[in-house]
Amino acid sequence: MVAEIGPSNIESAFLLEALKRGTRVDGRGIYDYRTLKISCGPTYGLAEVQLGQTRVLARVSCEVTRPFPDRPTEGIVLFNTELSSMAGFGLDSSRASTQEVAISRMVERVIKQSRAIDSEALCILAGEKVWTIRIDVHFLDHGGNLIDAASIAAIAALKHFRRPDVTIDGEEAIIHDVRERNPVPLSIHHTPICVTFGFFGASGDMLVLDPTLLEEQVQVSSFTITLNSHREICALNKAGGIPLSPDQIQRCTQVALAKVDEVNEKIQLALKASTA
């Protein structure tokens, strides 16, 4: 089978040449996102994100289960990603490559450890019944920057999702069918969005926002910062690559702050326009 190959000589040379002149090979500026399209629906909890050529689908579902014994009053959040050969050449869903595992862990960390979902609100009867929320992320097309697209899809799907309404009657919990009572949204504290930067050149002095697949293959370092609309940093991620200086990190943070506001607006518009 064909293994994953790197970029050709002329592609990397041309990309670096173009970056030295301040342009990118698809004509974008270095701080420009690709066209971002978010669509939610037709069922609750389904969100598809297109970021240029990258396409990601996120689906949220729920189920009533027993809680973990050491956390009897908290609900459970399960996270799963699928990167199959539909997304690109050389990708295989049976072997998860290190890159795929890194992406999956990153998005999971962003959703779970930043406490975006209120898990106490998922409790139905302490010690007996809680909601298990399951988020499945499918990568449909790998055009670069899967982390950003996956985080936007996951959080949009979570905000779009509605779970069945529950009434507690003493020791009994009645879970209402969605046809009897309107389902209720999850309690989401804040909206974390990942913003990824790629660095090029021997000292990492050239940077781009939202790298494409070719830029990801040529970059010497990658840095992801996760922010929410309250201007709080939820996560920073830099795995390997050449070292970055503090003012490069500062510059990225400032750019990311502006971008996160734009993305949040788009998510709001998509939720309003949803067909569910």
Partner: protein, 241 residues
């Protein structure tokens, strides 16, 4: 004009022609006409059925039928020009990735003027433009970078500068077959070289970095535009420069 007929895999194709009796001689109606099946069609016992989704085309003079579909995964076929990337060097030749399920073999001597003493030395990652020589379902494909009949390179060989990008197979085919309007419109505006591989890869080289990016973006954007819209888009891109 004839209506557009879209077929899906599994559809049985009716290749009898009721309309053009003027072109056929009436005294051969007892003989079966030979029908040539092109890409996307196979014969299963007596019937012809489609194996790809796309638009059904036919050529009445050569009696050839084919399905023009659009995908992004290439299947090698003999005689097609392809753009490949060298991934490994072996004793007998190079292994070249052409986007198909298996890498293609490019023999060391399949270049213009190559002899045992004088072989080209391509590094891993070099981009080459070649022609498919062997392609079937049981062997790895093979390509050559010259015309083996004349011994001349005829444009094939190593592509050393410029930029390469990927596009859909349908766009690549249109760029080669129909003298696409986007290339003509660009040619009126800026000088550039282009090598189109039917495997969905296009190599572009213009004078400067900015012009090369402009040409590459124009070609990529032209996929769903008709001739007039292509010319309009190219005009706007050239003005902005």
């Amino acid at each position: 004009m004839a209506s557009v007929k879209i077929v899906l895999p599994g559809d049985i194709i009716d290749t009898r022609r009721e309309e053009d009796t003027t072109q056929q001689e009436s005294n051969v109606e007892d003989e079966a006409t030979v029908i040539r099946l092109g890409p996307g069609l196979v014969q299963s016992s007596e019937a012809v059925s489609a194996v790809t989704a796309g638009v059904l085309h036919s050529n009445s003079e050569t009696n050839r039928w084919w399905v023009a579909g659009n995908k992004r995964r290439y299947v090698a076929a003999v005689g097609e020009p392809v753009v490949g990337v060298v991934v490994a060097r072996h004793g007998e030749g190079y292994r070249v990735d052409i986007g198909s399920a298996h890498d293609a073999l490019l023999p060391h001597l399949a270049f213009e003027g190559a002899t045992k003493r004088n072989k080209p030395n391509l590094a891993v990652g070099t981009v080459v433009y070649g022609r498919v020589v062997v392609a079937n379902s049981v062997m790895d494909p093979e390509i050559e970078c010259y015309n083996s009949n004349t011994g001349k390179s005829e444009g094939y060989g190593e592509l050393s500068e410029g930029f390469m990008f990927k596009c859909s197979l349908g766009l690549a085919r249109r760029l080669i077959d129909t003298k696409a309007p986007v290339l003509a419109a660009l040619g009126n505006g800026v000088p550039f070289e282009v090598a189109v591989g039917v495997n969905g890869r296009v190599w572009v080289n213009a004078g400067s970095v900015a012009t090369t990016i402009l040409v590459a973006n124009a070609i990529r954007n032209s996929e769903y535009l008709d001739a007039k819209q292509c010319r309009q888009m190219v005009k706007e891109l050239l003005e902005k420069q």
